[in-house]
Point group: C2
Chain length 443, copies 2
Amino acid sequence: MEFISGVKEKETVTIDRIKSGGYEGRTVKVEGSVHTIRDMGEVAFVILRKAEGLVQCVYEEGKTDFDLSLLKEESSVRVTGIVTKEERAPHGFEIRLLEIDLLSQPADALPVAISKWKLNTSLETKLTLRPITLRNPMERAKFRIQEGIVRGFRDFLHSQGFTEIRTPKIVARGAEGGSNVFKLDYFNKKAELGQSPQFYKQTMVGVYDRVFEVAPVFRAEKHNTTRHLNEYTSMDFEMGYIDSFEEIMEMETAMLQYTFGLLCEEYETELNMLKVTLPNVSNIPTVRFADAKELVAGKYNRKIRNPYDLEPEEEVLIGRYFKEEYGSDFVFVTHYPSKKRPFYAMDDPSDPKFTLSFDLLFKGLEVTTGGQRIHDYAAILNKMEARGMNPEDISSYLMIFQYGMPPHGGLGIGLERLTMRLLDEGNIRETTLFPRDVTRLEP
Amino acid sequence: MEFISGVKEKETVTIDRIKSGGYEGRTVKVEGSVHTIRDMGEVAFVILRKAEGLVQCVYEEGKTDFDLSLLKEESSVRVTGIVTKEERAPHGFEIRLLEIDLLSQPADALPVAISKWKLNTSLETKLTLRPITLRNPMERAKFRIQEGIVRGFRDFLHSQGFTEIRTPKIVARGAEGGSNVFKLDYFNKKAELGQSPQFYKQTMVGVYDRVFEVAPVFRAEKHNTTRHLNEYTSMDFEMGYIDSFEEIMEMETAMLQYTFGLLCEEYETELNMLKVTLPNVSNIPTVRFADAKELVAGKYNRKIRNPYDLEPEEEVLIGRYFKEEYGSDFVFVTHYPSKKRPFYAMDDPSDPKFTLSFDLLFKGLEVTTGGQRIHDYAAILNKMEARGMNPEDISSYLMIFQYGMPPHGGLGIGLERLTMRLLDEGNIRETTLFPRDVTRLEP
């Protein structure tokens, strides 16, 4: 009988290991894809692409035991060669090739030059050829940073006593209601795709006090814009025993501080490649919804058309105002009008036309919506009644209030939007691996 | 202008902080839900439930400034009292109450006694009242352990150079095909819910060499069993540059070793509550599919009816065989017949009737399916042709082979199944927060 007992050491080495020192002059094996080949005649530079970065390999006629003409871009290889110091090469070394082992070959030449520093194609082409264009080092760096954001969110909340949960995406009824839900047939019952884990995360506050989830949400919005997706990743948290809704904003601010710190420490290569400057989040200004409207109307000479909602252009101006006046890329806009918030939002006791809620704007774009929730059974029934809603439709959610819930609140962060603003991209599709929009269902 | 600068210290303390020492005799504030009240006349024990565990509080007539009759099970409170050593109380201390601050009140009395050590209800009732029954300490402990499994999976793979990805769940076509897909209308186009991130994770191997994802998958299976869900969490990884498919099993074994270590270190309370003994995974036996069938047919006197598939009962017997003969709760069954594996599975060059694939059985239940994949464009086209499949249907997936892919393979682990076996539960619904089955769409 054979047994498996864990990972065996590979005979190939990583870039990190070579960089750690002591490899100069030694013969190593390295694997990777052929990113590009620069043939100079008797010498050729074969650039390998690995997850960690690029490796410069030097092919020399007579010294390398391989027919160079067999090598193509996107061939997968395992090479044997001598590590040699070379300041001009990535990571400060190159590999003088002795042998090349061909692991696999492409059938066709690439339709786009992914080895260029920056992909020189339209967004449309980039997305259609996404499985290939993501191999471009600048493209893939974006999603490494996105990974870092999620890690930061999770690790920080874990340190604050939050429990991670996984809630269903096929639901009987969406949390937000309205027309933007995807419907499906579920064994001859009507079902929907979850627009938000709202009901479930509130439910789980009754179980674990503080919870979070990072998962897909689905919105059947019919408009194609640069900042909407039909499927996106929502980073949600919900916390109980809050004294005020400011605690939610405090938690988010601390999370951003931690996350940007993590990016700085562990994703420096990618930040540098993409020339990202991490914003200062040591202090984030807050402004009431009504005041924000006045401020930008005053400063930028703009008429207030709709007192109950922020138009995208107003969000941009609020972002600009707080950048100009306070040097901040972020601003919390608080106390949104009650009629524009969902029924579960808690109204401000001192003025119930407004709610104890907030959005976080990042460079003029809403990246977070949050607030305190109603926790009292009678209060939520009253609010539903006032809105003409039927409690029986969501009785398994209302159950948590009937049998007791602590004061609580939370938020949802759009991961792709946050990444988009951090990387100063103009279109949310640039920071989504395989975006879903009104016209795009593949790849 | 006001600013938010991060989390402020709360005036309430956690159990961990009290346990850290130096609190005896001191007055503290603690918040929680009233889990149960034991009224002994002049003294009453008020047990608070917090995420971290239970806290025993002592109410004394004349000493506690509060009307005890106002307190109900599931009231949320903030109490003030003196920390006193008490060996018989949870965590070795109790709080002698001075004041009780009522934060919120339930409207009705609980329909089930969640404060009992073990919930004494049917699975049906437990699931219908899930938002409430999860508050039972034994119930919630299960999902803390589930959190730990996911953390172990992610943290270990991260340490092995894997990148975390997020791929779409609304897809044009499922990876596995067949009839068990949920269909939906996507802006007048036909779409499906992803049965697996298979195509996407393979695609991302071309980008990051090694990737993983933890996300929901959807299977419209019409049968209601104790081990199937219609929506479950799949823990997937995929790795490039493998020399053999054994490397995938080695990675999984090492991941399980790490994960059980993490559970042992950070989830000891929950493991003890649920009386879980972590299995030994230092060595996991492997057996070929055909040999496994022979072995159990011989030992347990069982006829082989279907040489191409394992019946659930056979899986149970294989599990029993390796427990009896080698003391192992896990066994890798390898080299499944080609006709029972998807088209992308790599056939064994030494006998193409079988594949370089495996399942991992845990106490006789399949918890993982994995294997090496075809990476050559011509080879995958040939296999599709032999199966009568049309390459045009999945051209954006086939693109990765056309333009070059390294040898690779991976696996998918069913999180709820792994948790179910670890906790020795008899029904997968016991280890799913809000299960989805043929009849259950709520809560």
